[in-house]
Symmetry: C2
Subunit: 485 residues, 2 copies
């Protein structure tokens, strides 16, 4: 809620409290903080401006006196007026009522908090599902871009399904996984998340039921619920989702879709065994259960390649297959794809056109180069060896600090380790206490409401030193909370 640019000027001769008062007045006067806007707490303001709390108290006192803000007991301080509305006698709009009105559910407040805190430079991020900045192919990407010839296409709008050269490239790329898809069966999306959103808008109606692994990344996103779809979790074991249970769920509930991440699952790191894949495929055929196969981590295997994608055996067109460059090259490109039967792809493409008129054409051109010119495989090698080292280090650290108390999955690839702490540990407490010590974790209950003693740990993002520091902080907090080893 604060303007990141503005700083107190300690040499201006204007008293600090006056500078703060004026800053807040400007926000109110320009309509940036409208009537009803809740101000940050005095503590937060003091930290923001790097002043004593008494300075903030003084500034606020002035604003109260001028009738610009009001404080309700317990409810914090709110803007209650602005000079123009005082002058014009027209009350200002209460946008806050609009903000509450929209049909779209807000993100979990904890995810909103994570989204914000992630850009705090001092934070150690133990759950972030991204490659470390050191592993982003900056110089390779730069050379791709600087070598590219700028066709005019890259600046204009693209076809509804996406740049044809990229779709041809993806089609060819998929052959390595034994997936046959022609360019007309491929829709380019702005990351895998958008593919899921399009499915939610385009193929599911209010009251639909989607099954997913429990825990699952899918539980952490809200637009299925916003559209009136229910997401129901099906338990997993070390070989993936339990197909016997899945069949019961399907038979007892009128299920529309299964969402699965068979390889290097988010958030557990589990890879579905070949036998389980066969069972799942058989089940889906017999039960007429269509599937979304989210396979964005496939190429991040660290020991051996995972079994072939479910999609490679899908002759009936039951599976929508999702891939992306975000996990292996650059999340900033925002390029992914979804593969499926033509009527489905055309429907999704139409919705995408309504949504954003297509993905950045520039990103698409770069992605095509990246996939076709060997950069993809070259960079994968770099990532794999780095992730391997990181995984070893993380597993060692967990053993050292949590060996006697917690237990965890051992992933064969991807980014994630699913850690289960003793029951005494409540993950929301752990989250808050860790955040106070500048360590950010992803609580398990984002991915499964019942997983209140688990976290998703990622060894991909933070530096080795920070991983160690962060884990040490967690261990200390655990001791405090009584869940020590």
């Amino acid at each position: 809620m604060t303007d990141q640019e503005w700083k107190i000027d300690r040499y201006s001769g204007i008293p600090l409290h006056k500078q703060i008062e004026d800053f807040i007045k400007r926000k109110i006067i320009h309509g940036e903080w409208t009537v009803g806007t809740k101000l940050p707490s005095q503590r937060a303001l003091a930290a923001r401006f790097q002043v004593n709390r008494s300075t903030v108290v003084e500034a606020m006192g002035e604003l109260y006196a001028q009738g610009l803000v009001e404080g309700k007991t317990g409810g914090g301080t709110k803007v209650c007026n602005n000079t123009w509305s005082l002058l014009s006698a027209y009350a200002s709009l209460d946008w806050n009522s609009y903000v509450k009105k929209g049909s779209y559910h807000p993100n979990f407040s904890i995810i909103q908090k994570i989204n914000r805190e992630e850009f705090n430079e001092e934070i150690i991020r133990l759950g972030t599902g991204e490659l470390s900045k050191d592993l982003l192919p900056v110089s390779k990407m730069e050379s791709v871009i600087k070598k590219m010839s700028f066709s005019k296409v890259a600046l204009g709008y693209e076809e509804p399904k996406g740049n044809i050269i990229l779709r041809q490239t993806v089609s060819k790329h998929l052959e390595r996984y034994d997936i046959q898809a022609s360019p007309s069966n491929i829709l380019i999306v702005s990351g895998a998340l958008q593919a899921l959103q399009l499915v939610s808008f385009g193929l599911l109606k209010k009251g639909s039921i989607v099954l997913a692994e429990s825990p699952s990344y899918l539980h952490s996103i809200k637009f299925f619920q916003s559209g009136g779809t229910q997401v129901i979790g099906v338990p997993m074991d070390k070989d993936g989702v339990k197909t016997s249970l899945l069949r019961q769920y399907k038979q007892q509930l009128s299920t529309d879709l299964l969402y699965t991440i068979p390889s290097f699952h988010n958030p557990t790191g589990i890879t579905m065994s070949e036998a389980r894949r066969k069972e799942l495929q058989k089940l889906c055929r017999e039960e007429q259960l269509p599937m979304i196969e989210d396979d964005v981590y496939r190429d991040l295997w660290l020991d051996d390649p995972p079994p072939p994608p479910l999609k490679s055996k899908d002759k009936e067109g039951n599976i929508l297959y999702v891939g992306s460059l975000s996990k292996t090259a650059s999340p900033g490109l925002r390029v992914g794809w979804i593969i499926g039967p033509e009527p489905v792809i055309e429907r999704l493409a139409d919705i995408k056109m309504q949504t954003d008129y297509g993905t950045s054409a520039l990103s698409q051109s770069i992605a095509a180069e990246w996939l076709s010119e060997g950069y993809y495989d070259e960079h994968l090698k770099v990532i794999r060896s780095a992730l391997k080292r990181r995984r070893e280090k993380a597993l060692q650290l967990l053993q050292t600090y949590f060996g006697g108390s917690a237990h965890w999955t051992i992933p064969a690839g991807g980014f994630y380790i699913w850690i289960t702490f003793p029951k005494e540990i409540r993950v929301h407490e752990l989250f808050e206490k860790a955040l106070k010590r500048n360590v950010l974790i992803n609580p398990g209950n984002i991915y499964d409401p019942a997983a209140s003693s688990c976290i998703r740990f990622s060894y991909a993002y933070s530096s080795m030193q920070d991983l160690e520091k962060g884990i040490k902080v967690l261990a200390e907090i655990m001791e405090e909370l009584g869940g020590s080893r």
Copy 2:
């Protein structure tokens, strides 16, 4: 519905009908054309493969005989089986029922058709709201990119509201229009359309009413309706939306929002006069009617700059202001912004994170360079003089070919002329007949259901020669249809 890559091989020795049969079989076998998929018409297939219709008939005969397709009278030919489902005795999924189920409305079929036909190279596009490819700043953009230093940020995820450097740049950029907005009041979006989608999801609930000019671009997009919002048109005159009527609408209907394009309106080209702007602003204040000001065409003035944005006089924070680089630089970048009070911007940013995790970081970095390094203004000069020439030419041509019959608006900037033909001309007929002659128009009833004798004409996209050719074709068709001069 066809695979753009595949071509008949006339030298292979395999009969053409056999090649077509095999092609279609492959589509069915790989699950790309699932059971229930409607095949293109025989005529379309013949055109697609560049063969005689009898060749297609022969191929289809085989597929019928093998039980793979079936034809319902009048309903076209559909895939009714596939070899695997024959073998496995499991019926294949009917994805088509899913496609019909989603809560999201499909685009108008005519817009879907336009979206597809636009990528047909032979088509002359008379309605396209984009700069001609010649006017895209290819070499300038290339030099921006090649000079850029690739910070690591450009490859990672960005903050929820967007790249901070871009937001600071936009904040500075807006000062030239007398708009005060701090970076925390700016959300970067993937084009202006996405801003509208976020508003629809985030601020409006089922049953909301949005007013817009009639005609309006807003009527051509479907997600407001998909979310259960009603869009109601308020008539315009040469000075913009009629405020007297607007007040009545607002008082009689419980209206949530007004959407307006005050400068170089899409699709009419009308610019709201200064007096009308004042009236509108007063009305909105008095009636507590919040507004979206879509100002993406502002800098494309050809005679004089338009009056200042409504937002520049908005001290109450009643207005959400939308801008974009798509109309002045590159639609392919997919970069726009929305400005408003902080609670609103934070709500929209949260939904954006749920939707696509942010706009292409690369596009954002490029946009920041483009806006801050003088490229923006330099390129505007180029565009303005070209558009000015194009506008003169278009007005001349209209006078020559439609002088006695139709009438039209004369825009002071932007891309659009709104042409009203005599009542006898039904625009859907005009559309179909023109398309047969490779001329694509944007029928008026996309923008106002009652405007069935109007079109949105754009002088921005096609070459001068094509503009002339296209207008001539329209004139000839009009003569046929009995609406001649």
